[in-house]
């Protein structure tokens, strides 16, 4: 079951530059996409979401872009800060009912001073 894929296991970025984390999905019925951030020894924490009817959602330094035709979304962090260093999970939700979130494998972001 690889419905949500994060093909880059890690990313290293210099402080102040842009971080771009990518996510691909296969199920066109997903109606919401979410990004979670996870620090070691903690649970995932919600960062930002986007509805499938939108192509962009922005919250401060974080922007998520959705390309439905390509079944691709990305999270942009500008400017990146050392405190952003964490594992970022892309998640997707199906329609109706009590639909669970389906997570990707995560991308470890390291922001260097």
């Amino acid at each position: 079951d690889q419905q949500v894929k994060q093909n880059s296991p890690s990313l290293s970025v210099q402080e102040g530059r842009i971080s771009i984390l990518n996510c691909d999905y296969t199920n066109s019925m997903f109606d919401y996409f979410l990004w979670y951030k996870k620090y070691p020894a903690e649970g995932p924490t919600f960062l930002i979401s986007i509805s499938s009817i939108k192509d962009k959602n922005e919250d401060g330094r974080f922007t998520v872009f959705l390309n439905k035709s390509a079944k691709h979304l990305s999270l942009h962090i500008v400017p990146s800060q050392p405190g952003d260093s964490a594992v970022y999970f892309c998640a997707a939700r199906g329609t109706g009912g009590y639909n669970k979130l389906i997570f990707g494998a995560g991308t470890r972001l390291a922001v260097h001073p």
Partner: protein, 115 residues
């Protein structure tokens, strides 16, 4: 800020033993979930629970697993006879409602080590 609380933070058990992982969801949340993450792998859905019954479960959630909400605050995951491959971090999550973005709030996790 309200949070999901999980206990124990780490449990070591022998193969074949029963384990109960406990969770206290956020008080006004009505939907509860268990996920797990085997070391280095993705976060996998196990089960969702609403109105005192399972609403959805994954293939991982076989007869060895069960969930219960024994009182108004706790939500437990029981593994009847643990196997080596059950070693993982188990996350409890809760949400107000499953519609919209269905933002799940996760606990810090319970690390289970089966020897």
């Amino acid at each position: 800020e309200p949070e999901v609380t999980q206990t124990p933070s780490h449990q070591v058990t022998q193969m074949g033993q029963e384990v109960i992982l406990r969770c206290v969801p956020i008080s006004n949340h009505l939907y509860f979930y268990w996920y797990r993450q085997i070391l280095g792998q993705k976060v996998e859905f196990l089960v969702s629970f609403y109105n005192n019954e399972i609403s959805e479960k994954s293939e991982i959630f076989d007869d060895q697993f069960s969930v219960e909400r024994p009182d108004g605050s706790n939500f437990t995951l029981k593994i009847r006879s643990t196997k080596l491959e059950d070693s993982a971090m188990y996350f409890c999550a809760s949400s107000e409602r499953p519609s919209g973005a269905n933002v799940l709030t996760f606990g810090a996790g319970s690390r289970l080590t089966v020897l």
